[in-house]
């Protein structure tokens, strides 16, 4: 099957790629663009390891086709923090030891950013429900939730 030529924007950078019609956005990011920060835990929308934003909306990259990226603004973990600095969310994850193996972390950082953009002052319950789509098998979520609430407080203070 012929590959399709797609023009999109990833983390604010104009990007072009060729992909098969059946390829997911996750496959395109990881295999074609070598952006492996977005992880795959299930491929079926159940784990949140592949969390990205599409036009600002939190999305599982494994549930979107690569061709659907055409003309949209894609946000991935590679767009958060810089080469020598971290976002407040990333810093708080480290400070609170909110990761053990770390495979869930990129997805959680992307999801937490989406949460705090919508709701800068979430309650513990709101944070837990918003992040219920991001599985973490290592931490039991305690330290993740603490990191998220602390990041929210810090960002409100800084704003």
């Amino acid at each position: 099957m012929a590959k399709l030529h797609i023009t999109t924007s990833i983390n604010g950078e104009a990007t072009e790629f060729l992909c098969e019609p059946h390829e997911t956005l996750l496959d395109v990011l990881r295999n074609d663009l070598q952006m492996t920060g977005t992880k795959e835990g299930c491929g079926s929308g159940d784990c949140g390891a592949c969390s990205v934003t599409v036009d600002g909306r939190l999305t599982c990259a494994c549930l979107v086709l690569g061709v659907e990226a055409a003309g949209r603004e894609i946000g991935t973990i590679e767009g958060i923090g810089g080469s020598d600095k971290l976002s407040v969310i990333q810093e708080k994850f480290l400070e609170h030891a909110a990761l053990q193996c770390g495979i869930c972390t990129p997805g959680l950082v992307v999801s937490t950013q989406a949460l705090l953009e919508q709701n800068p002052n979430p309650t513990e319950a709101e944070a837990r429900y918003f992040l219920a789509g991001n599985l973490c098998r290592c931490t039991g979520y305690d330290k993740i939730i603490r990191a998220v609430l602390d990041a929210a407080a810090t960002m409100r203070g800084a704003a």
Binding site: K39, E40, G41, D46, A97, C101, P106, Y129, R146
Partner: protein
């Protein structure tokens, strides 16, 4: 070690050295490596639970454009019918070969049969459909009761039960019968005034790591083959793969990628030998990644078990007898952790009369893999449920009753040694004195208490520390970092050397740049690899002192090492570590320390958990409303990561108790091979998990460390299970306590 020791770095919660990479997505896990010219491997898996392979023809698939290699069991040249220990203990080499690619017979739904490598994964997938294969379907055996029944279909016609008084003449699904005993069990029950007894069931449950198994490999004829994979032990991957393919260890390099969770499930090989065969046949690097469905069907899980336990006590609370009979599913090949179940079940108690027997039983499910304190949660679930019942019958507080019977220093264990100093009493006291335990329960709530015991292991670890001319250094260790262990290694080395932790960078060496190290498992890394790190750091310090001595023309004994600085006790001179490193070229070359050890003296870690649940009596849904995990760390090197181990273990156990189970149809096919239907706990299911670190030092570790990774998954099964029993007033015997099961218990239909 002395308990009053003051530490400079140990006990602080530093930022992990690999943290930046992990929160930015830069860290590379099993599926993240691609190589030039790389192709993709996929596996055809059995659609049946139990069947003979009558005909297998791969010629149409091989001819499919884009297919570059096909592998089957016949590609394992060196594996003969005789069973050879693979070095991993529980799986023989032949069984391992048959598990990674089936021979003649498929033994579970999802059992690998054929592997194909093609230019793209889509082509490989299409080619799988072109494999011509005919099965003769056999009746599956899905439970220990069926498997042990007379006339059951036999999985392995050449398997005869070991451990029987008389040598059996007929094949059986029971691989082994074993027993442990102490004292006189009959006398113990005669002495008892109150007896409790029950039969329990725990389901098949998966480790549930979020990262699927993955590897990228390259076979090179000249002996430069390499495997990049996600594993808890890359030296074990090397050993198994080299044996299966008939390679020398020195001709295979295994690089451990970052690992996205393992919990015991990444201590064996599935894809790696198959990928290497495909690479050998195609001449190309091969990448293989399991999808989630394959992870559930063909890897892990932990054993489903049936256990019967009976406990007798006098009215004053003295437990006089504990008896048990445990049957553990091994999956398709022998080797369940039933022995560990027998060894751990009663071990939190100092009781004179004990008897336990265990059965290792094969069934048509995936071969079980280690799962965090393998074998212990299931057995201790049964015992802890009954100890809670006993407390009610005796009119005693459950913690108080445990304190009366608690194992302590000098207690004889059923499996051999007498305990050295252990911290069970301290954990029970901390639980009793916690705010949680003082809090009153509300309507529809119940509380459960449970203890847990795990041995922890030591074993071989190798470390070297290479110092740089500017006084920084690299700690090269061989234990994959699954939960932040690099941070602990950095802190222990810094403590021993007296320099800032940030001056030292810990890395996980591959199988060629560090000597053999056992895998990350058995809660051994901070203990054993930590000991090796300390030894290597002390070696560095000894060399520093010598170098300083040679510069000052004194003996090394005249040099003191204080906070990273050499002091001349015969004069006023001082040289910092950085200064000695800068001058190393003039004093004999660069400095590196070595610690290659076989660590003994692992300290058992006891845990005690408290759980409060609230039950919705109309739906049977159980919510955990408060949870406290208490555990003895010996010494917590990095307290936040220690708490993280307690919390993570607790939540895995909560999932096991409340939701997680493999669901099979009557045909033996797995019906819930995905995270939607095999539901692990999510953030909104849980409260905060209070962690209480108890520190009763292990005197065999320089800083007092006990392993902390595993004990925390043991108590939750009974802490949650008994909390539900307490809330609904109906005895609980089977897990998981999913809404339909709890609803039926409430309705009296359990």
């Amino acid at each position: 070690m002395s308990e009053a020791r003051e530490f400079k770095y140990i006990g602080q919660s530093t930022i992990r050295p690999d943290g930046f990479d992990k929160v930015t997505g830069r860290a590379n896990y099993g599926a993240d490596l691609s190589l030039p010219g790389m192709i993709w491997g996929k596996i055809l898996r059995s659609p049946h639970a139990h069947a003979m392979i009558k005909r297998l023809d791969t010629s149409r698939a091989e001819a499919f454009p884009g297919v570059l290699a096909v592998a089957t069991h016949s590609d394992f040249p060196s594996v003969t019918d005789q069973a050879i220990e693979s070095g991993e203990g529980s799986l023989t080499l032949l069984d391992l070969a048959r598990n990674v690619l089936a021979k003649d017979k498929v033994l579970y739904h999802g059992h690998a049969v054929v592997a194909i490598a093609a230019k793209t994964s889509a082509i490989a997938e299409q080619a799988l459909a072109l494999i011509d294969i005919e099965y003769e379907v056999l009746k599956p055996v899905m439970d220990v009761r069926e498997a042990m029944a007379a006339g059951a279909p036999i999985l392995h016609p050449d398997m005869f039960t070991q451990g029987l008084a008389e040598k059996p003449t007929t094949a059986s699904n029971v691989a082994t019968r074993l027993e442990y005993k102490m004292g006189d069990i009959e006398a113990g029950f005669k002495d008892a005034e109150v007896v409790v007894e029950r039969e329990f069931y725990t389901p098949t449950a998966h480790q549930g790591y979020i990262e699927p198994h993955a590897c990228t490999v390259r076979y090179e004829k000249d002996g430069q083959s390499m495997i990049w994979c996600s594993t808890q032990g890359h030296f074990d991957v090397r050993a198994s793969t080299a044996k299966l393919l008939g390679l020398d260890l020195g001709k295979l390099k295994v690089i451990a990628s970052e690992i996205g969770g393992g919990f015991g499930g990444k201590t064996t090989v599935y894809l790696e030998p198959v990928a290497l065969i495909l690479s050998r046949k195609s001449g190309r690097p091969v990448k293989m990644i399991m999808d989630r469905d394959e992870v559930f069907k063909a890897t892990g899980p932990g054993s489903a078990t049936r256990s019967w336990v009976k406990i007798g006590a006098r009215k004053d609370g003295t437990i006089t007898a504990m008896q048990g009979r445990l049957a553990y599913e091994a999956g398709a090949f022998k080797g369940s952790p039933v022995m560990m179940g027998c060894m751990t079940a009663f071990t939190p108690y100092a009781v004179s009369n004990m008897y336990i027997e265990g059965f290792d039983v094969v069934v048509n499910k995936a071969k079980v893999a280690a799962y965090r304190a393998p074998g212990a949660p299931q057995a201790e679930f049964a015992v802890e449920m009954l100890v809670n019942e006993l407390a009610v019958k005796l009119g005693r507080d459950p913690i108080d009753l445990r304190l009366q019977n608690a194992a302590k220093e000098g207690t004889q264990t059923i499996y051999g040694p007498k305990f050295k100093r252990v911290g069970l009493v301290e954990c029970l006291e901390a639980a009793r004195d916690s705010k949680h335990y003082q809090q009153a329960l509300a309507a529809n709530q119940g509380r459960g208490v449970a203890a847990g015991f795990w041995f922890n292991v030591g074993g071989q670890s190798s470390v070297h520390i290479n110092m740089n001319p500017d006084g920084t250094g690299t700690i090269v260790e061989g234990s994959p970092d699954i939960g932040g262990s690099r941070a602990s290694m950095q802190m222990m080395a810094a403590e021993a050397m007296g320099i800032e932790p940030g001056r030292l960078k810990p890395i996980i060496g591959d199988t060629e740049n560090v000597a053999f190290s056992a895998g990350t498992g058995g809660s051994r890394t901070t203990f054993a690899t930590g000991m090796a790190v300390i030894e290597a750091a002390e070696d560095v310090v000894a060399q520093m002192k010598q170098r300083a001595a040679s510069m000052w023309n004194v003996t090394a004994e005249q040099v003191e090492w204080v906070d990273g600085v050499a002091l001349n006790t015969a004069g006023e001179d001082r040289l910092s570590l950085a200064e000695i490193c800068a001058g190393a070229d003039r004093t004999g070359g660069q400095i590196s320390g070595r610690g290659n050890i076989n660590a003994r003296g692992a300290g058992p870690s006891f845990a005690v958990h408290l759980c409060d649940v609230e039950v919705d009596k109309e739906t049977g849904k159980v919510d955990v409303v408060r949870y406290t995990a208490v555990q003895d760390a010996g010494k917590a090197i990095h307290p936040k990561y220690v708490e993280g181990q307690y919390q993570g273990g607790a939540v895995q156990g909560i999932g096991w108790a409340l939701n997680e189970e493999y669901i099979y149809g009557a045909d033996g096919l797995l019906e819930n091979a995905g995270f939607l239907d095999y539901r692990i706990p999510v953030a909104s299911d849980l409260p905060m998990i209070d962690a209480i670190i108890v520190e009763v030092p292990n005197k065999f570790h320089p800083y007092g460390v006990r392993g902390v990774g595993e004990s925390g998954i043991i108590p939750p099964l009974a802490a949650v299970g008994y909390a539900v029993e307490n809330a609904i007033g109906v005895p609980v015997t089977d897990l998981p306590l999913s809404p339909p099961r709890v609803f039926n218990l409430i309705q009296g239909k359990g």
